[in-house]
């Protein structure tokens, strides 16, 4: 049972890292194309984009929602936070 769980965890972390790396490499290009929008990345490509997060989530089929994915907000100015 633990082995199955570990295999699942390993897969999630590995796919997450792949998506993050892909995003990092392509960030400048994506910023040009999808500035001020949310993008959903899965299997190292952009699956959907929208300035509205709710709309973005509704646009994506369950097939991709269930897969490991990354949602990023692309802003040329950069996100500034004071929590």
């Amino acid at each position: 049972m633990q082995e199955i769980k570990n295999k699942e965890y390993r897969e999630i972390f590995s796919k997450s890292k792949e998506n993050r790396e892909w995003f990092r490499k392509n960030r400048e290009k994506l910023l040009e194309e999808y500035s001020e929008q949310f993008v959903l990345i899965s299997e190292q490509r952009v699956i959907a984009y929208s300035p509205d997060l709710d709309r973005l989530i509704k646009m994506v089929s369950p097939k991709y929602r269930e897969k490991e994915h990354l949602i990023k907000y692309l802003s040329k100015e950069g996100i500034e936070l004071v929590l």
Binding site: N6, Y9, R10, I12, F13, S16, K17, R20, R24, R27, F38, P51, L53, D54, I57, R65, E68, L70, I71, K72, Y73, L74, S75, E77, G78, I79, E80, L81, L83
Partner: protein, 150 residues
């Protein structure tokens, strides 16, 4: 045992993050979450973007008696009592039970700009988890990790 984090360049300046899997039967979730490492936060809290992404139905959860302040205005706070956080380390997986807070802003009637400002706030990894580790943070080298030793 080391858990590697990273600096997210989307934030200005780049912000310290670590990925973890959050598991809860009560909330029906098993999701990867990219947490902002927030030494100013008392507790770990999932916020709007991740709550929406997970499709988490907060109506099923217990409302927290204590409301959480300081996260961009008024937040409705819920509790997940059976949550576990799983990190990937250089020695395998590290799993820890936690009382997970879920924070949801009321965005009814909010202007687009306000909505965006709220929805870009990441979930926070707070001190109740961070205090179990030593935190090594080297922003100029782009290196970051949590270290655990008995």
């Amino acid at each position: 045992m080391k858990i590697e984090g990273y600096f997210d360049p989307d934030f200005k300046p780049p912000a310290p993050f670590v990925d973890a899997i959050i598991v809860s039967k009560e909330a029906g979730i098993r999701h990867k979450v990219s947490f902002l490492i927030d030494t100013g936060a008392s507790m770990t809290i999932l916020l709007d973007k991740d709550v929406k992404d997970m499709g988490l139905d907060v109506g099923r959860l217990t409302k927290a008696e204590k409301q959480v302040g300081g996260i961009g205005g008024s937040v409705e706070t819920y509790l997940v009592e059976d949550a576990r956080v799983v990190f990937e380390s250089d020695e395998g997986f590290y799993e820890e039970a936690l009382l997970l807070y879920i924070g949801v802003h009321d965005l009814t009637g909010a202007e687009e700009e306000t909505m965006k400002r709220i929805l870009v706030i990441p979930s926070l990894l707070g001190r109740e988890i961070l205090s179990k580790f030593d935190l090594y943070c080297f922003p100029r080298k782009g290196k970051l990790y949590l270290e655990y030793s008995k």
